[in-house]
Symmetry: C2
């Protein structure tokens, strides 16, 4: 059997990582939903890397901030679904001009981002499912691959085991949540504001849901609240009629999520809680399972989004500005 | 004349920084409004530091994420106004247990954070003004002091010149904005949602205004939108009646702000724009002025907040949960 294309591409990129005399930092650079996918990778770097620094950053900010450290000892990982995002293409060009090793993820081979980067990994796109070939999974495989190559991190095989098991957990979770999803959609179809909340590796999913699903695709006001920031400002807007989608992860940051949830439960009657434990994710290999929660939340939340879109009569594909004009 | 207390304290902390055999990274750790003050310092580190990595992070997230790099080669800068924030006190204790050098900012000498940290800098608090003894200014003095000590960065004297000049710019800006401030307050007193937007060194002020002023002190729904993220989701909620407070900074990231503003102007009739150029900040020393914009925006925005609070009959001091119960 031939290896799937991403395996070949990942291995090729990792050979280039291994060939560099020195790697001091990894920049994870993208915009919007792709930027959100980068955030858990900075989390992994902070948790796992003894020497290499990890930074997730919006591509426009990266280009103008122009980190002084960026150079031949840097790896820059970029992602754009269309491969056309101008800021991300510029980031790849800028990073290469500084001598950094650039690795791009995209759904569009042959796109400007593919052309601009040293290496390209092409991912699968099917938002109601998860697999080892989805963008979020490929990013983790790359991050743990870099950690293995440069620092001898041993968790790549546990990650592979977990990614093999994950699709079935996601399928089961969506099937078993049918009732909750229908209630959410009907109960939230007239809401003007819906907050999301999460921490640790799941904060990125909360952020993505707020800006890409609620604001962009549903024209619902939203903000992603970091559960650790909740008590330092945002919790004052909690009230019986203020809706929150709360993500409860696994591992070290779970206690942050639980503390926020315990408070929100007292004062809001409009909570939608997704708990990684309820999805059975504690059965995944212990040393990586905290990282997998967002990869299950993401397709499950997409099912919530599709039902909400149906109930509102506002398809997720509708835009008023995006792709319809110059900006 | 005796030197002001912060100078003595900053110099003592910087002597401890200089005494470390090696410094690989600076963590900027706090919660809420104090965390927001840390964000421009990561920006400075990214722009100015050739070797040292900078990370701004919420204190609860820092404690649970427990960065593997954290150790004797790390400086951890913490801030809590009351000196009582449990997560931040825990962060100081945790960082010291790893051997890091801890430097705390607080308004409360003798507080638990003061006790927990190796060094403490006590700052002035007067939200309608700015000075070299305000928390945001002391943080910059510390950051540039570390850069001078470890990497020979030469901008500390330009920073001092700029901080000397800044109080008058702020005073003038608030006086000259009286009409705009009154119009904003009257025009927004019934708004349920007000967004803020910024990028680069000013993103932290946008964030702080969203979570501490609008959500916490005014119970108005809000989110800070990074101007570089605006076009990748959030801009779809723009409409004629959706209010935004837009911060236009100086320096490299100004073009990000201007692009977002140009779009928002077309589709919203409810923009409040604060432009660092209109405040005369281009007269500050060129090599540091981009960093100073948030230090002018912050007190000016406070004047907007006080007027809004008056118009709403909802004083900034009112809380329903904070300090009123256990959480």
């Amino acid at each position: 059997m031939l290896a799937p294309v991403p395996d070949v591409q990942i291995n090729e990129a990792l050979r280039a990582v291994a060939a560099r005399p020195r790697i001091d930092e990894v920049y994870f650079v993208a915009c919007g939903g792709s930027y959100a996918l980068m955030l858990p990778n900075q989390y992994v770097m902070d948790r796992e890397a003894g020497d290499i620094a990890g930074f997730a950053i919006n591509a426009a900010e990266f280009n103008r901030r122009a980190p002084k450290r960026l150079g031949p000892d840097s790896v820059v990982i970029l992602c754009s679904h269309s491969g056309n995002t101008p800021e991300t293409v510029e980031a790849a060009q800028f990073a290469r001009s500084r001598g950094a090793l650039t690795i791009a993820l995209t759904h569009a081979p042959g796109s400007p981002l593919d052309e601009a980067a040293d290496h390209t990994l092409v991912y699968s796109h099917a938002p109601l499912t998860m697999s080892a070939e989805h963008s979020a999974a490929i990013l983790y495989r790359l991050t743990f691959g870099i950690l293995a190559s440069r620092e001898g991190n041993k968790k790549a095989s546990s990650l592979a085991t977990a990614l093999d098991a994950l699709p079935r957990f996601v399928e089961t979770a969506i099937a078993q949540s049918a009732g909750h999803i229908a209630d959410f959609a009907e109960g939230h179809k007239r809401e003007q504001v819906i907050y999301t909340m999460g921490s640790g590796p799941s904060y990125g999913v909360a952020y993505s849901y707020a800006i890409c699903i609620l604001q962009e695709m549903q024209w619902v006001h939203s903000a992603a609240i970091h559960a650790g920031e909740y008590f330092h400002g945002p919790f004052e807007i909690t009230d019986f009629d203020v809706p929150f989608i709360v993500l409860i992860g696994l591992g070290e940051t779970r206690s942050i999520d639980e503390r926020a949830l315990a408070f929100a439960r007292k004062y809001s009657k409009r909570l939608t809680v997704l708990d990684a434990r309820d999805l059975g994710l504690e059965k995944l290999p212990a040393e990586v399972r905290e990282y997998l929660a967002p990869l299950a939340f993401s397709p499950l939340l997409r099912a919530y989004a599709e039902a909400l879109a149906d109930a509102k009569g506002h398809p997720l594909s509708v835009r008023r500005y995006m792709w319809r004009m110059d900006y």
